[in-house]
């Protein structure tokens, strides 16, 4: 059992980290669109899309947030 401090966290494989970076950027775009939604219908759908995108990030070791609304 690992009881040591990990000052530098090793990450997942490089391909996964690259996809994570792209998804973070995509999420930023999505959030901008959500801010500019022209109806509650679109805003809500984009909110759900954000949840799904965040789920993808959680598969890739994303820890900056724990859940989308944080």
């Amino acid at each position: 059992m690992d009881m040591e401090t990990k000052p530098e966290s090793p990450g997942l494989e490089p391909q996964a980290m690259l996809q994570r970076d792209r998804l973070v950027q995509l999420r930023q775009r999505l959030r901008e669109e959500r801010t500019n939604a022209v109806s509650p219908a679109i805003e809500r759908v984009l909110e759900m899309a954000d949840m799904q995108l965040f789920l993808a990030l959680s598969y890739l070791g994303y820890t900056d947030q724990l859940f989308p609304e944080e």
Binding site: T5, L12, L60, G61, E70
Partner: protein, 451 residues
């Protein structure tokens, strides 16, 4: 993308160093977040003299951060009148549940929409490994009530893109007919209930094997990882695969069997951190062969965080399994071996219900339906194993004696045995009640008394 055996290869096959680093990042973040948003966690951490910034290493996590336990949440639930350990406001709540009340008290649970999505993802790892794909279908032997277990299976089926067939609101016999008509790839239920359906089918003159079901899946009880029950289920249903999911109501199904079944389930390390503590010491278990109480931190719960939460399930954790599946996630051989808050010690011998279940299966003429009754007579704990005969049983007294001798030889202790008529014991759609403790409150042992 190319077909991949793994649902999420990057983390599912990552090495232990990478996985532990991700766990520690998540845990540190979660502790800070819970401290800021959950009055229960703030109280507990303040009482322990711990601030979020103090938790930076595994040593901090194991040795400084206090445990949380169901009574903490129940007390908070009673005080608040809603949910224990709440960290998100009502506008975030999407659905209510409660635990099955195995320990005598219902714990109310609330989920956000994201948590339901995340919880659904937990099932995909195992199902995908067995070759289940969106073309497949899942039949639910389940009235959609307040128990979250099979609801979360439903979310899992949605996550994977399966066709969902609901068996809600109909009788067992009608479920059998629907299954034969709909021919689902997977039938979902508790192991005991699925055996019950096979019995009902026979009584109705139907053959569930004709449905062509490929897999039985579910959880809530030990049976799916108990060899004798697995064999019986496979035989009765004619299925190729049995898929087990281990969980607790508070953290959902956090363990899943892989296609290379090795007698247990893998911890889904994308959704929780899992370790075991010594039953006497409360310290982290180090040896792979040592059993301990399972302690988890969930990454699917933010409305009600569960951090370093004592499950009271007794497990053995293999931190580096190697049985051919390629998953690097921890493995729990035998899944749940017992309960630390439900010690059954007969004349100095710890008895695990799953061990009794396996031994019952060794004796011809006995069905899988059994109950364990514990009493205290003249200061001594006694256990009565009450088990149903099946259609191969010619003499119930003789069969009872054979089981008694077998239990004595294997467990090293004499248990009382009674073989009752077929279908005399009650059937349950959800978790089957196996243990009946007739001892008074004062006679029952508490956790950490286990030898």
């Amino acid at each position: 993308m190319q077909e991949d055996r793994y649902w999420n290869r990057p983390s599912q096959t990552a090495n232990r160093e990478v996985l532990d680093a991700l766990h520690l990042e998540r845990i540190c973040h979660l502790v800070g977040w819970a401290y800021e948003h959950s009055p229960l966690h703030r109280r507990l951490y303040d009482a322990a003299g711990v601030q979020p910034g103090d938790i930076r290493t595994w040593d901090d996590y194991y040795n400084r951060l206090p445990f949380t336990d169901k009574p903490d949440y129940l007390a908070d639930q009673t005080a608040s009148g809603t949910f224990g350990g709440l960290a998100l406001p009502p506008e975030s709540w999407q659905q209510y549940f409660h635990t099955t009340g195995t320990t005598g008290h219902f714990l109310n649970e609330v989920f956000t929409q994201y948590e339901m999505l995340k919880a659904g993802s937990q099932y995909c790892y195992g199902l995908w490994d067995f070759g289940i794909r969106p073309r497949d279908s899942m039949y639910f032997c389940f009235d959609f009530g307040m128990w979250i277990g099979l609801w979360s299976f439903y979310w899992g089926a949605r996550s994977l893109g399966l066709t969902i067939q609901s068996g809600g609101g109909v009788s067992a016999a009608d479920r059998v007919r629907q299954i034969i008509e709909l021919r689902p790839t997977i039938v979902t239920g508790t192991p005991t209930y699925l055996l019950h359906l096979a019995e009902v089918a026979k009584r109705e003159g139907l053959d569930v094997r004709l449905a062509g079901v490929k897999m039985l899946a579910g959880g809530g009880e030990a049976g799916f990882s108990t060899p004798v029950t697995r064999s019986r289920l496979a035989e009765e249903w004619g299925v190729d695969h049995i898929y087990d999911a281990y969980g607790i109501g508070e953290a959902l199904f956090i363990g899943q069997s892989c296609a290379e079944w090795a007698g247990g389930v893998h911890v889904i390390e994308d959704v929780c951190h899992s370790y075991a503590i010594g039953l006497a010491s409360g310290e982290p278990v180090v040896g792979d062969d040592e059993v301990g109480e399972h302690v988890i931190t969930s990454y699917t719960h933010f409305a009600q965080p569960f951090i370093k939460y004592r499950t009271h399930d007794i497990v053995r954790i293999d931190p580096q399994p190697d049985h051919g599946c390629g998953w690097t996630w921890k493995h729990l051989p035998g899944v749940v071996l017992g309960r630390s808050d439900f010690m059954v010690t007969i004349r100095g011998v710890n008895i695990y219900p799953t061990a009794v279940e396996n031994l019952i299966g060794d004796v011809p003429g006995l069905a899988n339906h059994y109950e364990l009754h514990i009493t205290r007579v003249d200061g001594m704990d006694r256990m009565l194993v009450k088990v149903e005969a099946d259609d191969r049983c010619r003499d119930r007294t003789e069969t009872a004696e054979r089981l008694r001798v077998h239990l004595r030889a294997q467990l090293g202790v004499n248990l009382e045995v009674e073989v009752v008529e077929s279908e005399l014991l009650p059937r349950y759609e959800l978790k089957t009640r196996r243990l009946f403790d007739h001892r008074s409150e004062g006679e029952r042992p508490t956790a950490f008394e286990m030898h």
